[in-house]
């Protein structure tokens, strides 16, 4: 009997894993877990869903029988049953057992995901995430560098995170990699993630993140990206970033002009184009643009190409309502936009 139940449960698990894993995009869906954390969570989802489907089946079966068998056919008065101790004990004890089956792995997984040992190691990959209306900053304290919007991390390694927010509460969520954790204004939250290289490949090495906590009009558009690359590629990126402690020299004339406009129009007062994390946080008002030319997206939601970039620079409000860049610089002419785009797209660190 016991073996039968277990067999049934595992069959249910397999079927569900099959159904659920067909759901959503590999770069976005929590049903396509791409790393240890997301997998632990996914397994717990499966277990709880299996138990719950079982409960629903039992209730539904009883329900259907009742509705078929006991419809009113005549004017008879049914027996007025007071209750049944035996039955009541059964349906108290069975749920308690089911809950224990779920509670133990839950507690175990909670403690495992809360275990931050290894974070203090010198060669640990540590990232400070700072959320601001409506963009993300990623600082690598051990390397002394800063990037924004797109996080670059190596696969098959633990990555440790410190999370904060600089204005209102946000929440850092990359569903395919693991559940959300709030970025509070009060304190630093910590958690870790790990990404499987196979899964990263399937997802095109780019995972999509979302802000999960209501933070204002553009909450829906506050997307982040996680670029998961091999350790070698990661090292190359770090090397390039570290080297970019001085502004890069634009190569074309147009880009050169773009740089001038960038400085004259005051873009530079919000956007750094060097990677060092030496300026204080409060002075980093806008995303760091040091490796902007290598990002897949502009502000997390527009394809990063000349057209879309110009669209953003021309009228940020039409892209992200209530963003903090709108109206902070004079209107740009078409030539200025071209030059700026040329310049910004040339900002690269690994080539």
């Amino acid at each position: 009997m016991k073996r039968f139940t277990r067999w049934r449960l595992s069959l249910l698990l397999v079927i569900m894993a099959f159904i659920l894993s067909g759901c959503g995009e590999p770069y976005l869906s929590s049903l396509r877990p791409a790393g240890e954390v997301a997998k632990k969570q996914f397994h717990l989802m499966l277990l709880s869903t299996a138990i719950m489907v079982l409960v629903i089946l039992v209730v539904t079966t009883l329900f259907v029988i009742v509705l078929i068998r006991f419809r009113r056919k005549d004017d008879r008065i049914p027996e007025q049953v007071e209750g049944s101790h035996k039955l009541e004990v059964i349906w108290t004890v069975i749920p308690i057992i089911l809950i224990l089956i779920l509670a133990l792995p839950t507690v175990k997984a909670t403690l495992a995901l809360g275990n931050m040992s290894g974070m203090e190691d010198e060669d640990a990959v540590v990232v400070n995430v700072r959320a601001s209306l409506y963009w993300w900053e990623f600082e690598y304290p051990n390397e002394g560098i800063v990037t924004s919007q797109e996080l670059v991390v190596p696969t098959d390694e633990k990555i440790f995170f410190n999370l904060t927010a600089s204005d209102v509460k946000h929440s850092f969520w990359v569903p395919a990699l693991g559940g959300t954790l709030d970025t509070n204004t009060d304190n630093v939250n910590t958690f870790w993630l790990q990404i499987d290289s196979d899964a990263a490949e399937e997802a095109g090495n780019l995972f999509y993140g979302k802000c999960a906590e209501l933070c204002g009009p553009s909450h829906a558009l506050m997307d982040s990206k996680v670029r998961a690359v091999s350790r070698d590629e990661y090292d190359r990126w770090i090397k390039g970033m570290k080297a970019a402690k001085e502004p890069q020299k634009p190569e074309t004339a147009l880009a050169k002009k773009g740089e001038e406009i960038f400085n004259e129009k005051g873009c530079i007062s919000c956007h750094a184009v060097t990677s060092a994390n030496s300026t204080i946080e409060a002075a980093r008002i806008g995303p760091n643009l040091t490796d902007f030319g290598e990002r897949a997206y502009v502000v997390g939601i527009l394809q990063n190409n000349k057209e879309e970039l110009k669209k953003w620079l021309k009228n940020p409000e039409s892209v992200k309502p209530a963003n903090k860049m709108t109206g902070t610089y004079e209107e740009l002419t078409e030539e200025e936009l071209d030059a700026l785009a040329e310049y910004l797209l040339s900002l690269k660190v690994t080539e």
Binding site: L44, M52, R71, R72, T106, V168, T180, N184, N187, A220
Partner: protein, 620 residues
Amino acid sequence: MNSYAQKRGFLATLWDYLTTVDHKKIAILYLVAGGFFFVLGGIEALLIRVQLAVPNNDFMSADMFNQVMTMHGTTMIFLAAMPLLFALMNAVLPLQIGARDVAFPFINALGFWLFLFGGIFLNLSWFLGGAPDAGWTSYASLSLASEGKRIDFYTLGLQISGFGTLMAGINFIVTIINMRTTGMTYMRMPMFTWTTFVACSLILFAFPPLTISIFFLIFDRLFGAQFFNVDMGGNTIIWEHLFWIFGHPEVYILVLPAFGIFSEVISTFSRKRLFGYASMVFATVLIGFLGFMVWAHHMFTTGLGPIANAIFAVATMAIAVPTGIKIFNWLLTMWGGSIKLTTPMLYAVAFIPSFVIGGVTGIMNAASVADYQYHDTYFVVGHFHYVILGGVVFAVLAGLHFYWPKMFGTMLNETLGKITFWLFLIGFHLTFFVQHFLGLMGMPRRTFTFLEGQGLETGNYISSIGSVLMAVASVILVINIIITSVKNKKVGNDPWGDGRTLEWSISSPPPYYNFKQLPLVRSIDAYWHEKMEGRKEMPPAEPLGDIHMPNPSFIPFMISFGLFIAAFGAMYRPDYSWGLPVLIGGLVITFGSMLVRSLKDDLGTYIKKEELDDDKGVKA
């Protein structure tokens, strides 16, 4: 009292309702006001679903969406679900325990007017610079950052209506403890009375934390305090704790009375006494108790740490046990019964699987680690709509059809009722079932739009179609109410024929003093018991005598109106010099009215025995 018998003009009726302290009329007031806000919240819901029907929609601006979404949640919880339940409690509860009114009729009226003025204040924001936009949870960092007066409408409006809720809750607690008729022991009380009792006890303990947190926010925003200002040493997490110490029990405040209504309906239309009554009572109390131990499951991702998360996860799962007991007791009540699928029974029957889905997704949420993936996504939106629509709204609709004859003396049309039911049921599942998957597939909640090509289009489209079906169902319900009221075909004491409890032993609607002689209760399901013994009426517990009744009063209206005025003063005080005088003026009206109430003797009136004998003279 002869005026009651006369045909009265519109103004007289209006004045009657403005001053009434009769629980049955207050029930109607709650029903009308709660129904109005329900329609309002429903329209807001439709706007949300229109906006989200297709990706990148520009039907609404992001800013407008946040207002609509915030007001939808706030309205539905505070101004629709709670008042509609209060309507049913007021209509039925004193009758169920064999009382002539609630313990404090004056406070009953005060509770209603406070709720209404608070609700009106909140909704005036639409015309005065924009509605609240920080979600119904109004988390502190966002609500402090919100510009203009929007959040002040939220805080002041909810504060006023919250006072009303607290008073209503206390009033029902005292009523149930003190006003039961002879023989109505605790363990003979109908289930709806029991669940109301526990729910109101939860109100007593859950609303003060809300009051405090809202006061903090009011002081921060309007009077320069720094409770939540992190730069000044404040702390925003305190808001989350206080809000959810209120917010989680609030779920049970709503759903326990719903359980009560279903218990009555299921037992009535199965012609069987409630299976395992004692364990039902026990489960209700236990749910109420555990409801206070689990608030931090709303904060699994706040960063409280793994130990706290593990403890709250297990505590939350424990609630499944008493809830499961209830589900099986209902099923066993129907088992072996003689089930008649009337409209209220259809809702009750459909509630069971719908609510079980909401309950099990709740347990899934309780698994803290997995919840990191559900938190603040459409999974949670799906979950709590299954609980609140599948539980509370189904109960209100069931209760409405069930008690309509008792409240108005005429039956709602059953055919239309069943059409409403089916449309609503299908629409409900269409709308909310897919939302679980949307969340799992990466859609956060409270998003004004979603991007193309991320696999979220189909689910959102289905969800929007479902909401239209629910809207159509609601329209048919309104048509049903209008047709029924126009026809106004009168019914007798026990129109369903299977009534079990005291409310069905008296006329529909009852006379304004309810019971000519208070009934003697000799068993659980007292009226059913007498019917089975071959009697048509309840045996009296007292000889026929004069009946003491409270006088109507306009003072509750004035007390509430004063606070309404004062709220405007408080809100505009930082910007305009007239703010302070208006604030003071409003408070003078409120406290002056209280003073009048305290100093002026109001001993009520007596209905003379002779008048009662001549029953026609006093029929309301």
